[in-house]
Symmetry: C2
Subunit: 219 residues, 2 copies
């Protein structure tokens, strides 16, 4: 019985996600659904990315958080449209809440909409928001076994960001183990090895995301 | 409608949890439900704790994992009873799965049962397993804002372990911010600041958990 209920919830989520995707495609707005564990660095990644590509592209942000607007506060300095969705205990965003807040944006004035999902490596992967693609963020301090233990996100994402590479010398993280696991699950997925706080590897990421936004405009 | 369904699921979970709690109390087995984000160090904490208190107490482990038995493999060396529950995508353990696997243990030969929940800071907090208490594990590399952003676990837990304090010098983690947040949510909760890999602060934790097991036996 529970399985049937879950299927209904997912079906309704999927229908609304398809609507969102159609709307955003008609407006040529790329939507990135950013998913990670708590504290892997989603907000810091957004801070750096908005600082870098904010001159070239018109960006907006949807901040998913259980109860606070702390992450949104950190992004206020960029003077871009930001909407917070508080899930009040809910463990992921869904397409209905995304659909509702899209009214708050002027989609004709946007090139890219970043959605920072609730910090959770599991549930957000199961709910299509109508995004163009999912972005998986994982940090070295979580250990090298995350793709193997939480495969769904790494199967679904269009790219993986491995953050906090500056901390590898102080941990037992193994690049080899991480990559072997990841390649078994998703052989071709682009992997960006970065340190958001120190700046390592950010250029490759900026170039890739800029390319994605440009390509989406031309489609 | 979804809210009513969720309430039914939680009610049924609570009923079974009460059964589990009654059974374990009759057998004088303390059950600890260990909850954290992915990669905060639950398994390493268990490794160290079993190595230290395994001589004094008879311990068993239930390993909750989405799809692998990797964590259980790491604990095999202690020659204690271990049962793996694979949730196959599920984001938390529930009391029904715990109840089923309790048959695999000889409860008359146990003092303590550690349950390593699925790596997730949100959903496991909402499902009572019949545990004696929840233990929150959080690592410094996740940032100092976790109690404020994910309050439910920190409200529900009987103790908090702050792991990876050896990495603080390489991050922007602030003890003050962390403690201020935590104390607002749960003013009296015991906090153990440790490094599982380097050994800092472990004595206080071993003493506390040993005291909990002894007290439970005498009740």
């Amino acid at each position: 019985m529970e399985i049937k209920i879950m299927k209904n919830i997912l079906d309704r989520n999927q229908n609304k996600a398809n609507e969102v995707r159609t709307l955003l495609a008609s407006k040529k707005v790329l939507m990135v659904n950013i998913i990670s564990s708590p504290g892997a660095g989603k907000t810091t990644l957004l801070e750096q990315t908005l600082g870098e590509i904010g001159q070239k592209f018109r960006a907006g942000v949807i901040e998913g958080d259980i109860t606070t607007d702390r992450d949104a506060q950190r992004l206020k300095k960029y003077n871009i449209p930001i909407v917070v969705i508080n899930t009040e205990g809910g463990c992921h965003l869904d397409s209905h809440s995304i659909s509702k807040v899209l009214d708050s944006f002027n989609l004709d004035d946007l090139d890219v909409l970043f959605v920072e999902n609730v910090g959770n490596l599991i549930c957000p992967s199961q709910f299509d928001l109508g995004e163009t693609f999912k972005l998986a963020v994982v940090s070295t301090t979580e250990g090298d076994d995350k793709p193997g233990k939480y495969p769904m996100l790494f199967r679904e994402a269009k790219a993986v960001i491995l953050n906090k590479i500056d901390l590898i010398p102080y941990t037992n993280f193994s690049y080899d183990n991480f990559k072997t696991d990841l390649r078994k699950i998703n052989a071709q997925i682009p992997l960006f090895e970065i340190s958001c706080t120190r700046g390592d590897g950010m250029e490759g990421w900026y170039e890739w995301i800029s390319g994605q936004i440009k390509t989406f405009k031309l489609q």
